[in-house]
Amino acid sequence: MTTATANHDDHADHGHHGPAKGIMRWVLTTNHKDIGTMYLWFSFTMLFIGGAMALIVRTELFQPGMQLIEPEFYNQMTTMHGLIMVFGAIMPAFVGLANWMVPLMIGAPDMALPRMNNWSFWILPFAFGMLLFTLFTDAGAPNFGWTFYAPLSTTYAPSSVTYFIFGVHMMGISSIMGAINIIVTILNLRAPGMTLMKMPLFVWTWFITAYLLVLVMPVLAGVVTMMLMDIHFGTSFFDAAGGGDPVLFQHVFWFFGHPEVYIMILPAFGIVSQIIPTFARKPLFGYASMVYATSSIAFLSFIVWAHHMFTVGLPLQAELFFMYATMLIAIPTGVKVFNWVSTMFRGSMTFETPMLFALAFVVLFTIGGFSGLMLAIAPADFQYHDTYFVVAHFHYVLVPGALFGIIAGVYYWLPKWTGNYYSEKLGKFHFWMSFIGVNVTFFPMHFVGLAGMPRRIPDYALQFADFNAIASVGAFIFGFSQLIFLFLLIKTILGGEKATDKVWEGAEGLEWTIPSPAPYHTFAEPPHVK
């Protein structure tokens, strides 16, 4: 019994220790809650930086003519905006939420590989520091679009392209390590009784997303390595002069790129699948079907990539195949939307801020899905491709889609993290301003694209002026509304009405069985799941 007491004492000591003090706590932490917090603050910072770039773009586009910046700088802004939002804001935010919530949801004490977890995070500030630094060099930042097609990004690129490549490599390693961590954690550290089909949907969607990351991030690493070799080592992967092919670039890039966009949305599907049942006080409709639908989407995402290349000169059979496969993805996606709506139907709903964002997600993501279905029709795509219709589509699925999903998750879990309820009034204000802002910004883009305005242009013909002006106003509304969110977050961290363990009346899951705020170490002993 002496050993047991000694052990108990050890545990007690350790439990009352709490985290280290000062900055070294954050540099050295292997705690999933700390790391989750760092990812979230990092991604929020990136959101503001990428957002500032968007506002520069929208200011220039407010009227026809060049008013604010030169076309050269404009191309840098659009490129960096895309890179920062995709790789610096959306992806790390989802990783942050995963870090915080996956161990709690499966009853694990932490992630399976905590030290690798620390490295995964700390790579990111270095990678993005390097990328942002190029803005201040003579040659300027990357200016070839976030999709960096060759040869514009190889033979014709500014010297910053090398920093860009290294940044992508670093960020890719971070993502791959993070994804491995998540898979290993989910496979090995679930509490006894939690079978795979009892896992919360957020865990399922992240589980599938992690596999996608492990499979496609290396392909991205491959394509930027090929770029590096073409630029510096005399190879000609993408240069016809040496026997290469610029179209090969597009195939390899989009082989990564398409699964990438599902990587950016599946976790949001998971978040929304947690929130709606809570606030409808009704179990998620069709749990198994949701799991199968998410898995089908993930499988299908590997065979649709060339729908980004319909005008490149693909042979007819290839064009038809990719059109059919892309249309097919609409089916499991639709099934998910029907399941969410069926969860609401005959529920007992209240409309706290997480629910508002989740409901807006369902409507607005679906609208983005509709424009996606239109884009899938290859003949029609010849008129949509590389226009603002595409810009409207992907901003609908990424902003009121992925970003609203993230924000909903933050509001949902914030009381658990901080121990304080946020101000519901402020939250609702943030919601309505964001909802209005996002629609005023992106809905007009459908029309201006259909009317013939191409993407990635700093100036446009006169008939596009009115809708561009509206979109620019919306962008400022949306951008500045996020300051409300910043204010609310800081206010809530500093204090507020104390939150209960369960936080929300309809909440179900292991994360709601621990105190709010969540203790530094949780589930040292695994809970039993029935």
Binding site: N75, A240, A241, K282, G313, V341, I377, A380, P454, D459
Partner: protein, 375 residues
Amino acid sequence: MFSRTWQRLSSVVLGLLTVPTALAEWDGNMTRGVTEVSQSIFELHMLIFWICVWIGVAVFGVMFYSIFKYRKSKGAVASKFHESLGLELLWTAIPTIILIAMAVPATSTLIKMYDTTNADVDIKITGHQWKWQYDYLGEDVGFFSNLSTTKDEIYNRIEKGENYLEEVDKHVVVPTGQKIRFLITSNDVIHAWWVPDIAVKKDAIPGYINETWALIPEGEEGLYRGKCAELCGVQHGFMPIVLEAVTADEYQAWLGDQRAGKVAEAAAALGDFSYDDLMTEGAEVYARNCAACHGSEGQGMGSVFPALAGSPIAINDMAGHIDILINGRPGTAMQSFSAQLTDVEIAAVITYERNAWGNDTGEMATPQMIIDAKK
């Protein structure tokens, strides 16, 4: 006979029925265009659009109904049901059927779009940074087409013209009633040639040739404006297309004019030119072809495009100056202009560059000097 409610309802419904037509003609919608293909595409677009609208109405209908009826504040009590295999199968099967229905017309339109056989006219289109080049195969006609909107308009120094950013110095002229085959490639990076009214868009890829076609019916003569549709560098937004569709007879006449024009240009080069003639023409050529990179005051753009004001080539090295215009500077963005500009234009722009912005060499490059340098 019908109650007030029915009357009101039918007015609303009838009113809504005008929406599809209104929507179709609205300029915030895709253009119907002037060819059979563009109209098939427009119809596919409207079909998938309405399918999405009706699905949206159904889904959001149930959703908003639930939001209003099933709220806790109204006393709603949550049911417990949470699965139904039947429903899952139903709402998997119905979308599948709708999509198969969509795929059929989409497939036949795509097959039509890929059929480039039996063309009457072949035009090779080469994308450059940042202009288009057109060669009429078998006709000995070829030219470059540059944006003609002025920098003054772009930089808000003067009022913008009606066709701001959609106008060029030379239109690509095509006959109506004949099948035109476009062979598209690029000189440097990937561009894309797009004219919405004929629903033609194809990437221009360096080293590769892409093929597409259009047939503008007789009666649809007119101007159709298009754009570059693939990011190709700094001036991607400034290289539009103007397609001019004319009758077959007018087309033949135009071809003849073009050939005659080339002969006349060559002859003109042998004539006499005064310093003032060359300076005037040189300023125009410069504004149209050089200012985009070298700046309207010859100031260049950072380290990327060298300044011409005060540059040794423009002040000292006449032979080098001529050589760089004719052959370009390999390894840089400075292309050869011998195909794009006539001998007179090259001589004029060199004269202008050697005397403007304080360069003041007093020297003149004559067209004969250009002809000699090309030998």
